[in-house]
Amino acid sequence: MPLSRFRSLMLKEIRQILKNRQIIFLLLFPPTVQLLIFGLALNPAVNHLSLGVVDYSDSPASRDFVAALVANDVFEIQSFQPRAADLGQQVRTGQVSTGLVIPPEFAERLAMGQTVDVQVLIDGVDANTAGIASGYMKQLINHYGQTLAKPPGSSSGSSPGPPVETAVRFLYNPGLLSSWFFVPGVIGVVLTLTGSLVSSTTVIREKDVGTLEQLLMTPAQGWEILAAKIAPLFVLLMGDVLLASAIARVVFGLPFRGSYPLFLALSGVYVFVAISIGILLATLARTQQQVVLLSFFFNVPLIQLSGAIAPIESMPTFFRVLSFFDPLRHYVTIARSLILKGVGLEVLLPEVLILLGFAVLLMGLSISRFRAQLN
């Protein structure tokens, strides 16, 4: 008897989903777009920084120095200014993001083999870009200094090189492609957003139109009603996992070094968590509008804290600790490890256990709230 009851509940959900074009759209379109945007557009490398130059020296040496700075497209000359004050003004108004002032004695002092100071102005409003710009600038100037130290023509062995040379080899992402870092994280973000949105709408709609009361009056238990709602959504969202991993493989060429079935299974656990979040939010909200606003309130910090987009290592201690309570963080760790590193379940066990814990906790809360929500 209970089996036929469950079948009726699920049949009703499937029929409603099939009639609802919006849900199909929600499942296909946003995940694709989000993956493509984050993978292609989000790149922390900085190029084409606008550079303003004041060259008081106006000598072959100074022109040579400027040419060396802009040789690799990191900096691009926006303008030459006659006076340092004008340049300062340009940096202040944002016309250029970096400024370079070369002193009049530049050529003379270099010729005499003395050190010379150049002034670099950096617009610090965008702290991240400023940091990168200043790093590049230092590197380029150092490099230029080194080429001066060994003039062309002298044999490479004649002057002593730096005592230690660091040779860095990057593991797992040899090309340091930023998309390899972002895409697994964005898969997690997409599952969080889509999963919580579709599950919260199917639950809130019953409340909105008033069928919920009738449903709660049937002999069906709260968990049965929810399970019947979750099962078809789970299947659809697993379709999203397949879609996302196909985009990751085909468009971005991610390696998928770990076991793919394991990746699917653990993604399934996370889909379950995302659905639970949505249902929990739906039991807290009273209308469709409220649930959308609530999910913004919850999902945005969830994503920010997860390390999917910004590295957790760069957060203050408090937030690093807080991120531990973010299920998305653990899923992102799992996804990166499986896709990029190819580790096995034994390494990921702590994350997997935590994720399972979240799934049980959130679903339990949802079920207990579901029946009590009419009060």
Binding site: M1, P2, L11, K12, V209, M217, P219
Partner: protein, 644 residues
């Protein structure tokens, strides 16, 4: 000098050959009518007859397929600023207060701020909402919301009011206030077109159009419609009523039609003398006690029911396919002791004691917001009680277990079907969730479709059904599992009179098989079907008993007064007596007089002084509606005295 005859006033609304088609369905098949300024024009018809479509076209929110529509001599869309439109659904902003809602409506229609203040005060005073002007619209009862919606439509001083079943789900007291306001604005020259499923209200219209299947069948004054029927009505009160109906039905002769109205039969006869003689003879022959017999004119409801029956629109009367023998009657199904519910510091239900037995129909009556729905929700375990005890189906604790719930049927006030599923899918769903075995399920779905007259339309999306039909399908869905206890919260709200009769036939059938039924309704006349009833005022039960006990316990006497100037007489008497003691029923007045011998002389003197002629007065038995209004008003007076 010769007197110049005043020119015939231009019709406020003129409709000719109006057609509307939705895909293959023809909703309006070329209707034609004209409404004069200051007229109250009633549009009466069964669910799905095309009333709402007509309103939407008149309001200019929908285009006609063909035909001509002139509103104030213009296209409906261009006459918008002079038009007020109130629909079944509440069109208020729940987060704004009464005054803010009014101000918003006024702003939309560019009412000058100076005029707004005076206008708002006078409107709110007329419907007794002035005291609550700062209360949020979302916290008002259904009756208050509709009165406010009417005020919002009136604030800009429109020349035309379109009212599409504005009083559906509104309690009798508020409904009377609503219609009193309508009569007053019509007297000021506003043209009103109104649809209502309450035919006693519709009798207050100047002219009435009967519409069904997209066609206007008849237009005329109440008297025209009565005359066209060519029949006389005889009210028969006999014991037992069911048997009396059966034997009279078989006797034929002068009897054309018999309709059950609560505790009486309306027997339609071709000839008054012959009919009365026949009724007396038949009842005497069958040893049935005849307690009262009165000759009267047919009511609008008689006309309506008779016309629809002629069209073969009487819904099918089919036996419910049952899988079991039924419950033993007489055992206690529901019992409460000192049931309480508080929301914050608001006491929604205070100390309710009630007992409902298997096989009993128990009616819970009261104004909107009296606590009926809250009580039902506590009884079904949807809301936890704040205090008191509940016994339900023999259980006293954990009423929300699924074994208990599988024995309960519940039909809530809101529509309980999924709009995005077809009718059949909805029924399959509820059948499946309640675990009705497959073969029986199919039989029951067929039964629901046939009783609702929806055979062949089962694959239609439920959302596209008119409200009254949805109600019928939801009732079917809520009884498919043959519950032992059935909760019905305003099941017949917005349902047309014929279908309402069918509803009650079904409810009585279920009770006869031993189902305990707890029902709420705003149609007091159908509440006569209850075995026991309780009146709730402000969360407490103030009177309880059988319909005849309740009516007998009314103090004073009810007097029916017939005058050609019903409205003027009502206005005057409402000032002299307490307003609730005077009410308009169709073309006559009902007066509640505590000491009829003394008070009636005073009433006649007042009317004489005002030059209002009185055709006749006679004492009549209290109807349940009169009893309801008397009980509610007296209880509220007592509470008002208690609360400073």
């Amino acid at each position: 000098m010769t007197a110049i005859a005043p020119p015939r006033p231009e019709a406020a609304i003129a409709v000719a050959h109006l057609r509307k088609r939705y895909g293959a369905v023809e909703a309006l098949k070329g209707i034609e009518f004209a409404v004069q300024p200051g007229e109250i024009f009633g549009l009466i018809g069964p669910d799905g007859a095309g009333k709402t479509t007509t309103f939407q076209i008149l309001a200019g929110v929908m285009a006609a397929t063909a035909g001509e529509v002139r509103v104030l001599g213009k296209e409906p869309r261009l006459a918008r600023l002079n038009l007020g439109y109130v629909t079944q659904k509440f069109s208020l902003y729940p987060d704004l207060s009464i005054l803010e809602n009014l101000r918003y409506s006024a702003g939309l229609r560019r009412v000058p701020a100076a005029r707004f203040e005076a206008q708002a005060r006078s409107l709110l005073q007329r419907v007794d909402l002035d005291r609550f002007r700062d209360r949020l619209a979302g916290q008002l009862s259904g009756g208050m919301k509709q009165k406010l919606a009417l005020c919002c439509a009136l604030i800009s001083g429109p020349k035309i009011l379109l009212l599409d079943e504005p009083t559906t789900g509104v309690d009798p007291v508020s409904r009377r206030e609503f219609w009193d306001l309508l009569a007053a604005v019509a007297a000021d020259g506003v043209t009103v077109i109104v649809a209502t499923p309450y035919l006693d209200e519709a009798e207050r219209c100047h002219r009435i159009a009967l519409i069904y299947a997209g066609d206007i069948q008849q237009i005329g004054t109440l008297q025209d419609l009565r005359d066209s029927l060519g029949l006389r009505r005889i009210e028969v009160r006999a014991e037992p009523l069911g048997q009396a109906e059966a034997v009279l039905h078989q006797s034929g002769g002068a009897i054309v039609d018999i309709q059950t109205f609560g505790d009486r039969l309306d027997v339609m006869v071709t000839d008054a003398e012959q009919g009365q003689a026949q009724i007396r003879a038949v009842l005497a022959h069958n040893d049935l006690h005849l307690s009262d017999l009165r000759l009267d004119q047919p009511t609008l409801e008689n006309v309506f029911v008779n016309r629809l029956r002629q069209q073969g629109l009487d819904p099918a009367d089919l036996a419910f396919p049952t899988g079991r023998s039924g419950q033993d009657k007489g055992g206690i199904a529901i019992a409460t002791r000192q049931l309480q519910k508080t929301f914050g510091d608001f006491q929604a239900v205070r100390g309710v004691d009630m007992t409902v037995h298997y096989g009993e129909i128990y009616g819970l009556l009261g104004a909107n917001g009296a606590g009926k729905t809250t009580t039902i929700k506590m009884l079904c375990g949807l809301l936890p009680a704040s205090g008191g005890e509940i016994e339900l189906a023999g259980e006293t604790s954990r009423l929300d277990r699924s074994e208990v719930r599988s024995r309960i049927g519940y039909m809530s006030q809101k529509f309980t079907l999924y709009d995005d599923l077809t009718i059949r899918q909805n029924l399959e769903f509820y059948g499946g969730v309640y675990g009705v075995p497959k073969p029986l399920q199919r039989e029951k779905i067929d039964w629901v479709l046939e009783t609702c007259g929806l055979v062949g339309q089962e694959n239609r999306l439920t959302g596209s059904l008119p409200g009254g039909w949805k109600q019928r399908v939801s009732f079917g869905a809520s009884v498919m599992h043959e519950p032992d206890i059935l909760f019905l919260d305003e099941p017949t709200s917005g349902v047309d009179p014929l279908a309402r009769r069918q509803f009650w036939r079904l409810i009585r059938d279920f009770a006869q098989r031993g189902t305990a039924i707890l029902v709420t309704t705003h149609y007091l006349e159908e509440a006569e079907n209850c075995n026991t009833m309780a009146f709730m005022v402000a969360g407490a039960i103030v009177a309880q008993g059988s319909p005849s006990q309740i009516k007998a316990s009314q103090p004073g006497q009810l007097i029916e007064l017939v005058s050609r100037q019903t409205q003027a007489a009502s206005n005057l008497l409402k000032q002299r007596l307490a307003p609730w003691r005077v009410s308009i029923f169709g073309d006559r007045l009902h007066l509640v007089l505590d000491d009829p011998d003394r008070d009636l002389i005073a009433v006649q003197r007042w009317l004489q002084e005002a030059d209002i002629p009185v055709q006749s007065t006679r004492p009549i038995p209290f109807s349940l509606e009169d009893a309801f209004i008397g009980i509610v008003q007296r209880a509220e007076d007592v509470q008002r005295v208690k609360a400073p």
